[in-house]
């Protein structure tokens, strides 16, 4: 295991990042919410997620070729790019979010080409400046870590890796090595937003990861209902909801923030109370 990205020279921004993640997962199961940046009124929608009780925010960076995403997020990417969203806009959204919400962990999620096109150091430095806590890069597996991981770690930004049903016990250490913040367990072998995993398989996978590491484990892909979220939160440290929120952005346009706040609140209650005895 690589060391966690504490820099050792005092109580800097890197420490603030680890504190934000640690605080988000220390309260019990956390709700992790994803929306695509630049699709709809992103700033208002992000505020609605926080107001509704989201503990960690994932902001999607749009890409022309989102290979790992299902129709909902593909279309959100296309809408965002068609509206003219640039990488600079994503960092502006992040910077402003950090100013409004100093304590909520913020993760950028996307694909390697937009993240590395100006060099990983540039991207990591921008993340640092914007107060981004972590990065999920869908298509940089541990084997290609050199393209992003070292630059992020230098900036004290967490690289949040994905583990999947095909990540077996032998491979898991490679995925965990260099991961920090939390581990995102993709509960189905497939694309985002299309199908839900059987709860038993999630229970088994989370137990397997927790046996190998103390890193918080958030589970996502296909989670749409408070009941699903509650079931997952009984075993996992976090529940990730994405496509369902992106659908609300699309359906409700200017009214989306209020709808998102209410929906998020229903998920948050389910997640936060999942471990209370009924």
């Amino acid at each position: 295991m690589l060391p966690l990205p504490f820099r050792g020279e005092g109580w800097g921004e890197g420490d603030a990042r680890m504190t934000r993640f640690a605080a988000a997962f220390a309260k019990g199961p956390a709700l992790v919410c994803f929306i695509t940046g630049g699709d709809g009124d992103t700033a208002a929608n992000l505020d609605a997620l926080v107001a509704g009780g989201a503990d960690v925010i994932e902001l999607g960076m749009p890409f022309t070729d989102p290979m790992a995403d299902g129709p909902a997020i593909q279309q959100a990417n296309i809408r965002s790019l068609a509206a003219g969203t640039r990488t600079a806009d994503i960092f502006r959204l992040a910077t402003e979010f950090r100013a409004r919400h100093p304590h909520v962990p913020l993760v950028l999620m996307g694909y390697s080409n937009p993240m590395t096109i100006r060099g990983p150091e540039w991207f990591a430095a921008e993340c640092g400046k914007a107060g981004v806590d972590g990065v999920i890069c869908v298509d940089i597996p541990p084997e290609e870590d050199a393209d992003l991981g070292p630059a992020l770690r230098d900036q004290g930004v967490s690289l949040i890796r994905l583990a999947t049903p095909t990540t077996d016990t032998a491979r898991l250490p490679a995925v965990l090595d260099g991961s920090s913040g939390f581990l995102y367990y993709v509960s189905v072998a497939g694309i985002t937003g299309t199908q839900a995993a059987a709860q038993a398989s999630i229970d088994e996978a989370v137990a397997r990861i927790k046996a190998a590491s103390s890193i918080p484990v958030a589970v996502g892909f296909g989670v749409r209902t408070p009941e699903q979220a509650r079931q997952i939160a009984r075993v996992a440290d976090g529940v990730v909801v994405g496509s369902a929120l992106v659908d609300l952005v699309k359906q409700h346009g200017p009214d989306a923030p209020e709808v998102i706040r209410r929906y998020t609140a229903s998920l948050a209650e389910a997640v936060h109370k999942a471990r209370e005895i009924a």
Binding site: A68, Y111, T116, E144, T164, A189, G190, I191
Partner: protein, 414 residues
């Protein structure tokens, strides 16, 4: 499929163990796919070392594909360019006749190899992406031959543009799934094939059509296509008693070119030119020339030259040839380009159309529009080569599929 003896400073010992060709290539895929491509690599290593695998591959190439394909001396094209060239210039032009293969292009070589790998791995379902439909037809063909269900992802626009090939695939028993995401062309078909693969990794094998994608695809597609260059080498030695001086091949993803070039890479006296599709011209912004008009980036599992904007968003490619209409190319070409071993030049739609017609009239061969791009480099290349030199053009496919496109451009109503 030839066994190579590693030599120092060889151009033929790529990729490295991590699948990198210099800084290009690699394995940029979602975690779900990683265990599978690691498995594929292991299985490919075993297959490569297994004489029975090679014997079955060679047997199918001979009896099912119809190999070896001829190396044909093209006398009238030779005379045509010799007459245009300065005194003493104008090399002897040969065609490597890949268009005579079963299904009409080089694509089938790779499909035969990959379906044998699929069966070796116990996979029971085949998927593939296709642009013009040639790789789709070749994949549907081998799937039919071995009785495996097959789904072909094809951009909805291409389904509309390439109806004869859509029908061929259906006749061969494949399901053709129109892709409506993005620009509805080859790049989007590849995205959807990857999405299907991620969801069905347990039983599905993805037959990628070109020497691109995550490692080990660029390597294994190259190896299966290297039969083109290996045969050319032997055939030229037999015909002329020496190696060719120059090789020309069109580069979309680049599988016919890498198959032709790779066996010659360590012969320093053999020149090589890859021809990119320049569409309406590099300056027009409407082209598919990743090396001439793009820069390195990551897409579809590998780092390579791509058409993209400054934010790394992939831009749409354009070429009259649907088979070249892709915003990237195989990583080994990016490496060969930067190392200087192979030269890459752009050819426009208009130049390709002229070469297409000339080849029909002078040689009685209707080439694919892809191959017509390679033929279109002849005016410049032949003017600088002497009469006693030898040049080979890889005629990678036949042009029957393209006659509708060409008719439209020539104003002929079909």
């Amino acid at each position: 499929m030839t066994v190579q003896t590693p030599i120092a400073n060889s151009f033929r010992n790529q990729p490295d163990e991590q699948g990198h060709f210099g800084k290009f290539g690699g394995r940029y895929v979602a975690e779900t796919l990683m265990p599978l491509i690691l498995d594929l690599e292991k299985e490919y290593r075993a297959a490569k070392a297994d004489p029975a695998f090679r014997a079955e591959f060679d047997d199918l190439l001979e009896h099912f594909v119809g190999r070896p394909s001829p190396l044909y001396y093209a006398p009238r094209i030779t005379e045509h360019y010799r007459a245009l060239a300065p005194e003493g210039k104008g090399p002897k032009i040969y065609f490597k006749r890949e268009e005579l293969n079963h299904t009409g292009a080089h694509k089938i070589n790779n499909c035969v190899g990959q379906i044998l790998l699929a069966m070796r791995m116990g996979k029971t379902r085949i998927i593939a992406e296709t642009g013009a439909g040639q790789h789709g037809v070749a994949t549907a063909t081998v799937a039919a031959r071995f009785g495996l269900p097959c789904t072909i992802f094809m951009g909805a626009k291409d389904v509309e543009r390439q109806k004869p090939n859509v029908f061929r695939m259906k006749l061969l028993g494949a399901e053709v799934r129109p892709v409506t995401s993005g620009a509805e062309t080859l790049k989007d078909a590849m995205n959807d094939a990857l999405r299907d693969w991620v969801a069905n990794v347990h039983d599905t094998f993805y037959i990628i059509g070109t020497a691109a994608g995550p490692h080990p695809y660029p390597e294994l597609v190259r190896d299966f296509q290297s039969v083109i260059g290996t045969e050319t080498r032997a055939q030229m030695l037999k015909a002329e008693g020496r190696l060719p001086d120059m090789l020309l091949a069109a580069v979309g993803g680049g599988s016919n070119a890498i198959g032709m070039f790779h066996p010659f890479l360590d012969d320093p006296d053999v020149g090589m030119i890859g021809i990119e599709a320049a569409g309406h011209g590099i300056d027009s912004g409407q082209h598919a020339a990743s090396l001439s008009g793009g820069k390195p980036g990551i897409l579809h599992g590998n780092r390579t030259y791509l058409l993209q904007d400054e934010d790394g968003q992939i831009t749409e490619a354009h070429s009259i040839s649907a088979g070249l209409d892709y915003p990237g190319l195989g990583p080994e070409h990016s490496w060969l380009h930067e190392s200087g071993r192979v030269k890459y030049v752009p050819i426009t739609d208009t130049q390709a159309l002229e070469a297409f017609q000339l080849c029909c009239k002078l040689e009685g061969i209707i080439p694919a529009l892809e191959s017509a791009h390679a033929l279109a480099a002849l005016p410049n290349v032949t003017a600088t080569m002497s009469e006693d030199q030898l040049l080979v053009v890889n005629v990678s496919g036949r042009g029957d599929k393209d006659i509708f496109t060409v008719a439209e451009h020539l104003g002929f109503e079909m």
